[in-house]
């Protein structure tokens, strides 16, 4: 165990020092965009044998693998599950035609390993201190965009806090925060245009905020009053705005994914210069709709960007229980401070100092099969991104969008992050995870703070502006909540409208009966719903 950590420490060192290791992975499938440069595979290619054109028997990888999974007590013969790649010499290969194309044959029986041994690293540009890692590829941000991104993230954070409190006070019935994931929605929205259609899951109000949805409109939806453009019909947080190209949220998980493919199909037919961006969480990737949507998108060559917010938790289900990633890493996810993992050969707790831990975890929590590797199975170009790094998210989405539209293909982006808040106001996450873990991510890995450091470094933001923003936003939020609370609800006729384009006879009949009942028992009817 100690040996493995030591080895991995060298890898982290490499990760920090080496430039453009992205090039190693994408050199076959990455077409260079304006700011990213095409990199030669560096010394890392021997440690990351994932390069598709360099399949070779990696004994180094195999020996690392043995350290990771010591199977002393395993009596079975695991020789067939090596992490090796079949030798691929052109002269020997004789192609056979099958449906699907010509395929070379080999007479050595080799199984593809269930894991590649080393995990796909995540694309990250800003370090924990808000400094850009030397030699990073990223899209330049103007001061205006950067400041808007930052202020939006702060607004979202504050809105989440105050609306959550409002629910706790009994003023709204339900709320879901995006705490810890502000960068994923806002940085992505900043990288898109107003014509790109969004099909969200439910933790992306940042996009609406970016596009101009006002605090008052958010409050109206949560209170379900007559100013809500959804006419008070959906539960709080299930926003929708046709004019901002944000499709109304529907609670069942992942149903928006195949719909996104349909929207992209429509854009493709009309040849529009726009793409579709759809979100889901790590839990949503277990749904059948996820599989079919990715498959369809690839087959129909639809311009869709799938963003998976891998925040580690689906209510109380940790990702280790959601899909198969390494048991060891899943333990790390739960115990950031001391590494005594149950089931591992070493039971001695190992504690490390703060800063190294920071990088350690940023490396290890990005390790894990996760979702990014699934893209390849469908023939979809994918990238894993540090979801708490606003610059990285911005750059990745910017490029993904270009690819989706110009090449008419889907793209999968896995944004790694952590769900700091509870799943919703109906959840108390301290019941299934440690308070220390939550506090760590909240304090040390906050995406808003990290981005602020960078913005401040550029001289674009100051302490005064910070306190000014926070105090004025607090006032605005309180005001909005108070006003929305007192505003009337939508009138009774809206109970029956929009079920169809025109209310049919049975609904008109039902409305008439309801009104008759109200006239007979006016004292039982709520006072804030106009007739």
């Amino acid at each position: 165990m100690a040996l493995w950590f030591a080895k991995s420490r060298t890898i982290i060192h490499h990760l920090k020092r080496e430039v453009g290791f992205m090039g190693v992975f994408h050199q076959n499938i990455w077409t260079s965009s304006s700011s990213s440069s095409y990199m030669q595979p560096g010394p890392l290619s021997s440690i990351f044998p994932f390069n598709s054109s360099q399949r070779f028997k990696s004994t180094k990888a195999a020996s690392q693998h043995e350290h990771l999974y010591s199977t002393d007590d395993d009596g079975g013969d695991n020789s067939q599950a090596d992490i090796t790649y079949p030798p691929f010499s052109e002269e020997k290969a004789e192609g056979l035609d099958f449906p699907g194309g010509n395929v070379a044959c080999i007479s050595e029986m080799r199984f593809l390993s269930e894991s590649t041994g080393m995990r796909i690293p995540c694309y990250s540009v800003l370090d924990g201190n808000g400094e850009i890692i030397v030699g990073s590829d990223y899209e330049q941000l103007s001061e205006e965009i950067a400041v808007k991104m930052y202020t939006s993230m702060v607004t979202l954070q504050m809105m989440d806090t105050m609306f959550y409190e409002a629910q706790r006070q009994g003023r709204i019935s339900f709320y879901m925060t995006s705490t810890g994931e502000e960068a994923i929605s806002i940085a992505a929205a900043a990288a898109l245009t107003a014509d790109d259609i969004i099909l969200p899951q439910y933790r992306e109000p940042g996009i609406l905020l970016w596009r101009g949805f006002t605090i008052e409109e958010f409050a109206s939806q949560c209170f379900g009053n007559k100013d809500d453009c959804g006419k008070g019909r959906q539960m709080p947080n299930h926003y929708g705005s046709k004019k901002l190209n944000f499709v109304t949220i529907s609670s069942p998980i992942a149903t928006q994914l195949p719909q996104a493919v349909g929207v992209a199909y429509s854009l493709k037919m009309d040849k529009k210069d726009a793409c579709v961006v759809t979100y889901t969480g790590d839990g949503g990737t277990s749904e059948g709709d996820f599989h079919a949507a990715l498959n369809f998108a690839a087959v129909t060559e639809a311009p869709v960007v799938f963003i998976c917010r891998n925040n580690g938790w689906a209510i109380s289900t940790n990702i280790s229980e959601q899909f198969r990633s390494t048991y060891l890493f899943s333990c790390l996810l739960r115990l950031p401070f001391s590494f005594s993992c149950k089931g591992s050969p070493c039971t001695k707790p190992i504690t490390l100092s703060g800063t190294i831990q920071c990088f350690f975890l940023s490396a290890f929590l990005s390790l894990g099969d996760g979702i990014v590797v699934r893209g390849r199975a469908y023939g979809i170009r994918s990238i894993r991104v540090d979801g708490n790094d606003a610059l990285a998210v911005y750059s990745a989405i910017h490029t993904a969008r270009e690819m989706a539209i110009s090449e008419q293909r889907p793209v999968l982006v896995e944004a790694l992050s952590y769900r700091v808040g509870h799943h919703s106001t109906s959840d108390d996450s301290t019941k299934y995870r440690s308070v220390d873990e939550i506090e760590y991510w909240k304090k040390v890995r906050d995406p808003v703070n990290r981005f602020r450091k960078w913005v401040e470094r550029n001289g674009w933001w100051s302490e005064e502006e910070e306190s000014e923003l926070r105090s004025s936003m607090k006032k605005q939020l309180l005001q909005a909540i108070q006003v929305a609370e007192k505003t009337e609800k939508p009138p009774l006729k809206e109970l029956f409208s929009d079920v169809y384009d025109v209310p049919p006879p049975n609904l008109r009949e039902q409305e008439k009966q309801l009104r008759e009942t109200i006239i007979r028992y006016p004292q039982d009817y709520p006072s804030d719903v106009p007739l």
Binding site: L199, S250, S251, L257, Q259, V261, G262, Y265, S266, G288
Partner: protein
Amino acid sequence: MDRDPHVCVMGEDVGHYGGSYKVTRGLADKYGDLRVLDTPIAENSFTGMGIGAAMTGLRPIIEGMNMGFLLLAFNQISNNCGMLHYTSGGQFTIPVVIRGPGGVGRQLGAEHSQRLESYFQSIPGIQMVACSTPYNAKGLMKAAIRSENPVILFEHVLLYNLKERIPDEEYICNLEEAEMVRPGEHVTILTYSRMRYHVMQAAKTLVNKGYDPEVIDIRSLKPFDLHMIGNSVKKTHRVLIVEECMRTGGIGASLTAAITENFHDYLDAPIVCLSSQDVPTPYAGTLEEWTVVQPAQIVTAVEQLCQ
């Protein structure tokens, strides 16, 4: 599809294969692969895809290879198709048509003999129609495509071979209207889809025996055309419902409730409903025949009703 470039078709094998019952034959050649889209086998997902496309301005016609497979699409149909217009406050419309062959065929087995009209009838926000002749099939299909609401069009596997002379010029049938098949005085027989033909066969026998049945093909399964049905009940005072779906929770059950609620005073006898039994459709030919209402049973029911 000629008239409106936004109309498109999606489903399994609808393209070059022309559909499992050849409903879309020739369309892919004429309109291209993109407008007549062959989808992979994931009903929930291509229905979802159709809903997404509809929200963005297309008018997709989603085909279930067999209606029964659309049970896999129930989530999308109920939670999204029916609801999104409402929950978005009217911002997003879903003008889809979901169609496919259903009903009991000739020894297709239980899973291919589903009658989904009873399962879908509760979903708010959708309309359901059942066609029964080439004339109303064309008319209802056109009306469904042009409707802003999501419409489920039920076709029947055994009716695809019917031939009929239909007008050259364009026509559409009203989605909410029933069809008067045979006016009469003694009893109102309400039916739809394939059972219409069993009823008409029984009607011949009944006429020979001196009865005068009024036969109405209700066509619109949701909402019911209570106007035409009501007028008929007021005239004849006796109602017989003949349907192919199962007794429990079927269309007949809802129709019985609706008629009783609205026209109770005009009834001289309780409403009789002939439906299939609550069993999965057996494969054996003779057994299958007896799960479906036969003309002889209809004749007996009318005779009893008119006593």
